[in-house]
Amino acid sequence: MSEPYTGETDKPDTAGGALAVGRSGPYTVGGPRVVGRSGPDAGDKGGPDAVGGPYVVELRDVTKLYNGHVQALRGVDLTVGHGELVAIVGPSGSGKSTLLHMIGTLDRPTTGVVRIAGRDVAELSDRELSALRARHLGFVFQQFHLSPGVTALDNVADGLLYTGVALRSRRERAAAALERVGLGHRLGHRPNQLSGGEQQRVAVARAVAGDPPLLLADEPTGNLDSAAGTEVLRVLRDLHAAGTTIAVITHDAEIAEWCPRQVRVRDGQIIADRGDGREPPAEITKGGAT
């Protein structure tokens, strides 16, 4: 099968280190049509749309200018394969948030190519991008962004509102997702009745309830103490083990070390990319502050 092939194109990147993310194989995707099943357990998670390439995320020479002169990204090449757990790490102002926006299709690059789930973002209208987000992407934010006064179940079900699923099965899937993050006993609780770690787990459940092929977590532990942060990381680890592709955006070195693959960003460029995202993450040994 094509797995070794995709693996190989990945390897030079990870081995290449600083700035070495070459433009060697810009159109590897054009080659063999690979049904997205690189990990043993990627399964049919993405449904019929998971077709289209070996990468969930593919960025080619992406730049982003704000207001015509502020250069947030200066030529980024990045690929993330199915089932990887990647940390995108860098200090604030490094461009990692912009990178998140690119990967999350919340914004478009100034130049370069962004492909998510095999789709070239530049070719998609705003409506199509919305549909892409609804089916292929799940977001977890630093502030959990849960609706106050709404039960955990409905908060999670609300995340599926734009997938075209009827309310009843939205609720069923939401219950299943909450079960997955270990909150099956808290379905009827409101955010103010949950601890910070539980709230973030609700947010994770909301992001994965629709079984998106890619989960984007932006500083998922940033607002949590270490115990609660550990809870959330454990959930991410389990999702990863079950085959979900996860990108964690963080400035926290410990969390970055915990991830099997780390992409370091500084001044709008990738300065390092090491590790194999398909490996299981390290043991969670967080003791210090976040």
């Binding site: 049509r33 749309d49 077709v51 919340l106 914004d107 609804a134 509102l161 997938t163 009827a166």
Partner: protein
């Protein structure tokens, strides 16, 4: 790369989902919702109450007209060419009765006499009560009734017996039959008290005796001064045309004919037309309410940039964000509209019942109120909804 996955089309929101998502903002900020819906409610309530109260008053008058009929004509003697009070010929009533469509006709004649409780009261103190001779058919023609005692009949019209109109009895302080009053130069016995006569208020202020008794005891000349006549409803105008000649063939130009129900018709028309100013006030209140809703929606969009960004990250399209805020605006004004319609209907009912009117809120007023709230909700929501939809997801999420 080959596009094997087909086109990406965003899922449609079902109507119930649109409602659900539109209600999110309302549920989380109940105080603000109540206050801004109140503006709409006041406007709608004002308009419904204005329309309702005037409709009720109009309905009351129309029902009264229905009850009283519009087929009554009053013929009075009028004045001669020289300005003197004219008199109708003594045979006028029987002439009128001979006109084909006429159902009933009767007459009264003014007598130069006064009515007093006793002979000790000076002659000049009449209390504004007229003394009149009346034919026995008068009560039938006017479709009136007695509240106490009996009306004049073939026997009592020859006796010194008197029937008092409602106002006359009140002014004389007579509350029962059998008492005596001083008329002309002798005592008359009160044998009956009349009820209200909306079509002939002059009868309410009269003391009525029979024609023969008036001629015998009060020096009456037997000439009627007013003839009351009812005919078939559709023939009223035709009868009106022939009456002057019938009643007074020699001097038809002296005769005055009036239709007492015309006054009621005019009042009913006035009750319906009176409302324009108040309606305008209600419209202004509604407009102000609409501005309030727009204001609330703008603030809501500003405050909920994060939510908007979050929904965009869930996969909401611009259109779906727009629909959400339009739905919210519509729900907000519809809430005000429903509350206002209920308040307006209650105000109408309360006012109408306190006046013994039938409470009427016309369906077109309710329909108009619904349409007005929908228009206001849409207009007030368009701008905020466009703003919400234009927000870039990253900007929306970045705000803290």
């Amino acid at each position: 790369m080959t596009r094997t996955a087909g086109r990406l089309t965003p899922a449609r929101l079902s109507p119930s989902d649109v409602l659900r998502v539109g209600a999110v903002g309302l549920r989380t900020r109940p105080t603000r919702v109540i206050l801004s819906a109140l503006g709409i409610a006041i406007g709608i309530a004002t308009m419904i109450a204005v329309i309702g109260i005037s409709s009720s008053s109009q309905e009351q008058l129309l029902r009264q007209l229905d009850r009283l009929g519009t087929n009554l004509l009053t013929v009075s003697a009028g004045r001669t060419l020289f300005g003197e009070e004219a008199k109708l010929p003594t045979g006028a009533v029987s002439m009128v009765k001979r006109v084909g469509p006429v159902i009933t006709a009767s007459a009264t004649g003014v007598i130069e006499a006064t009515v007093r409780r006793t002979d000790r009261i000076p002659k000049e103190v009449t209390g504004g009560i007229a003394v009149q001779a009346a034919t026995t058919e008068l009560l039938t023609t006017l479709e009136g009734g007695v509240t106490k005692g009996a009306w004049l009949n073939a026997a009592t019209e020859r006796q010194p017996a008197v029937v008092l109109g409602s106002k006359a009895a009140e002014r004389l302080g007579v509350t029962r039959t059998g008492v005596r009053v001083w008329m002309g130069k002798r005592w008359f016995t009160v044998i009956g008290l009349l009820g209200p006569m909306p079509l002939a208020p002059e009868i309410e202020r009269s003391a009525l005796v029979g024609f023969p008794a008036a001629e015998e005891h009060l020096g009456f000349d037997g000439h009627p001064t007013t003839i009351y006549e009812r005919s078939a409803e559709e023939a009223v105008e035709a009868v009106r045309g022939v009456l002057p000649r019938t009643v007074n063939p020699e001097n038809p130009e002296e005769v005055d004919i009036s239709r007492p129900s015309d006054a009621l018709v005019a009042r009913a028309a006035a009750a319906g037309a009176f409302t324009n100013l108040l309606l305008g006030l209600g419209a202004v209140a509604l407009l102000v309410g609409g501005v309030g809703v727009a204001n609330t929606m703008v603030i809501s969009v500003l405050e909920r940039r994060k939510e908007i960004g979050l929904r965009r990250s869930f996969g909401a399209t611009r259109g779906q964000v727009r629909v959400q805020f339009l739905a919210e605006s519509l729900l907000l004004s519809a809430l005000g509209g429903v509350v206002g319609a209920v308040l307006g209907a209650l105000a109408t009912a309360g006012y109408a019942l306190s006046r013994d009117w039938p409470p009427i809120v016309p369906p077109w007023a309710i329909g108009g109120a619904v349409a007005a709230t929908l228009v206001i909700g849409t207009v007030a929501g368009i701008y905020p909804a466009m703003r919400a939809a234009r927000l870039s997801p990253t900007v929306a999420l970045a705000t803290t």
